[in-house]
Symmetry: C2
Subunit: 410 residues, 2 copies
């Protein structure tokens, strides 16, 4: 199955079921996804507001005023900020006001203190104002009943500011998807334990759990499943019952004990839908659905597992969480050396970014040493994709690098 | 003071003091900053590992083998994955092996099962192998004693995978900076309370707290401080005592009650270092340092406050957290209409991004209505910077848009 076919089959079987909503307080709503349309319940501002420090006036009382012939008004009081004005302005009067305070009844404009002179309660206004000048009208920012935020928006600082403006302290958001992460393979041991001869530490559960967090979901770590059919079958059933998606790694190549695909297929309908993909790396990947729940069985090689997670599993997690599917961050660079593809397979080459002497950004393949190299993960900034029908990317050719993370370099 | 001068003065006074470290478990280390150099404590792999399913052999026993003249070997046993091999290979022997299992003593290569034929314990090998072929040598991925991760690295999925590979379950990271957030201004009321006439809800505490989280720190909300000198002075002292940085908003324009700068200056040395900046918006911003602790007093206007936070406060928070200072994400676009600058001031124009019919990305100024508009925050995707010496950006001119957030549009 080609990479494009695998993507299509996964899309065809995937139903982004609604996982439910929960109410969270505003200060904990960062990066959550709104599950309600927010309609303004207030006129904002709720009152005509002065945008200057100075005096509230009737605009017509200032008409024709200039340096030589100021309008002369009587200061009849003051408006305090944050209070309903106690004064009503009559013709020929002015009321002291500060920025943000309500314009009192009878006034329709404000003059800036800089354009006035005051002696006791006599005010000289040298610059005329028009009606509504220096006034932010009631409802001019936001009218009651107007839609402000939409279901599905991810909440960042500006959106949370807008919710606060409406006086809200809680908001309804999509529940966070739960993703079960488990590792298989008789050679794998959990970090923190002693490492017996012939074993290696479990890397994938940790790198994949972290990638699940990055994707906006909550990982539940099921540990290393013993290398036996019954144990694996039981672990997968428990994982399916308690999570919205399951990710396993290891045990999907052709070795005699790689029975993960068989077991996945036996757990329910539709079962396995992708069994191997013509990609490099990541060929042994299998994908199944049990009811609506996806099960990804990723290779044991940590770099391959993380790569296939980003390409195929992450978009599903984002959709389950109600998020827009965000592609990986892409940056343009130049191939620092020739990169070869695997014949007939979509190839992803892990690369490291570096500026050359002319400040061109170069993408250089990371030496992977042998299959399963762990250090590849730490060295690579991202990867370059080579289509099935191309044999190589030539040195100096422009390439799109998909970034594993924001790197300090770019 | 120009914007550049303000930046320089802040840099001159800022000491990125070390706030201490803490130990966190690996699954909670995502997006934390490493405070130790990680050196490999293991050879990885810790044993010579087969990279294929097949048979461990002595390479020399296969020399010269081909389709017509296979090498004939005796299968003397099998190696289980995850176990120390119990067999030792003698000349003329082969041992069954799976991917990831240890190469037994006496063997120096592995042949793939696909290139063999077996009958009972007689194995025919049709393709010769050289020494070390299909073997991932002990320490070939990572040698004991080699530096793998460096102090100051931000931990993402690949880095956490590498830590797991070494068997680590905990890691030392920088403490998260604490930022006190408080609001001033007699017209401001906390969301969730009833809104009295003449008041508005506090927006800034929420949008700024969220921006603090985005910057890698923990906000502590001190609420709305009553509009009185003694209360403000006390609140600032408490905030300084309990946080690494203080951010206030509101009460920094020229109104009669705007005594925040005075109070900040009275709290200790060096006191106020920036009092007003020639920018639009954000002119009334003041910045002080009490000992090593920065106090930013941002304008009451929510858009201005968030903008100045991103430009001036966020880099300091990132440095306090041990993080590389990450600029805002920038995207190139074309001005959809002419944007004007404020005479002699660095101007930041809030813009909305939209594709035109020819799929050109256009940046259009958001109508701000009046000063203090809240909806500007919700409408704008980012902003365009106009230097002091330029009067406007012309329509169709290429502009760099600094993004408030990842927008679904680009």
């Amino acid at each position: 199955m080609t990479f494009d076919e695998a993507q299509r089959v996964i899309q065809d079987h995937f139903k982004p079921v609604f996982l439910g909503e929960e109410e969270v307080v505003l200060l904990e709503a960062y990066n959550r996804v709104l599950n309600e349309d927010i309609v303004s319940t207030l006129d904002i501002p709720t009152f005509n507001r002065s945008t200057v420090d100075g005096y509230a006036v009737k605009a017509e009382d200032t008409y024709g005023a200039d340096e030589n012939q100021p309008a002369i008004l009587k200061v009849s009081g003051a408006v305090n900020i944050g209070e309903q004005p106690k004064v009503v302005l009559a013709k020929g009067e002015a009321v002291e006001i500060v920025t943000g305070a309500p314009i009192p009844e009878g006034a329709d404009a404000a003059v800036m203190v800089e354009g006035t002179e005051r002696e006791s309660d006599e005010l000289r206004v040298f610059n005329p104002v028009t009606a509504n000048e220096n006034v932010m009208k009631k409802g001019s920012d936001l009218k009651k009943g107007v839609a402000v935020l939409k279901k599905g928006q991810v909440l960042g600082s500006p959106e949370i500011g807008v919710l606060a403006a409406l006086g809200l302290t809680k908001v309804k958001v999509f529940k966070i998807p739960i993703v079960a992460v488990l590792s298989t393979g008789g050679e794998v041991t959990e970090p923190g334990k002693e490492l017996p001869a012939g074993k290696i530490y479990d890397i994938n559960a940790y790198s994949l759990s972290t990638a699940v967090i990055e994707s906006g979901a909550k990982p539940v770590y099921f540990g290393v499943v013993p290398d036996d059919k019954a144990a694996l079958s039981k672990a997968l059933q428990t994982a399916l019952a308690s999570a919205d998606m399951v990710i396993t790694s290891g045990g999907v190549s052709v070795g005699p004990r790689d029975y993960t695909p068989q077991i996945v297929d036996s757990l329910g309908k539709p079962g396995l839908v992708v069994y191997g993909i013509a990609v490099k790396p990541g060929k042994p990947t299998t994908v199944g659905f049990i009811g609506d729940k996806p099960i990804f069985s990723l290779p044991g090689n940590p770099t391959s597992a993380l790569l296939i997670f980003y390409l195929l599993a992450r978009p599903l997690i984002q959709r389950l969480g109600g998020r827009p599917v965000a592609g990986m961050k892409i940056i343009r660079a130049f191939a620092g050396s020739r990169m070869f593809s695997a014949k007939g397979r979509r190839t992803f080459v892990m690369v490291k970014l570096e500026f050359d002497k002319e400040c061109r950004l170069l993408a250089d393949p990371v030496e992977t040493g042998a299959a399963g190299a762990i250090t590849t993960l730490a060295k690579a900034d991202g990867f370059v994709e080579i289509p099935e029908n191309e044999q190589f990317v030539d040195v100096n050719q422009e390439v799109a690098v998909m970034l594993f993370r924001s790197t300090g370099k770019v």
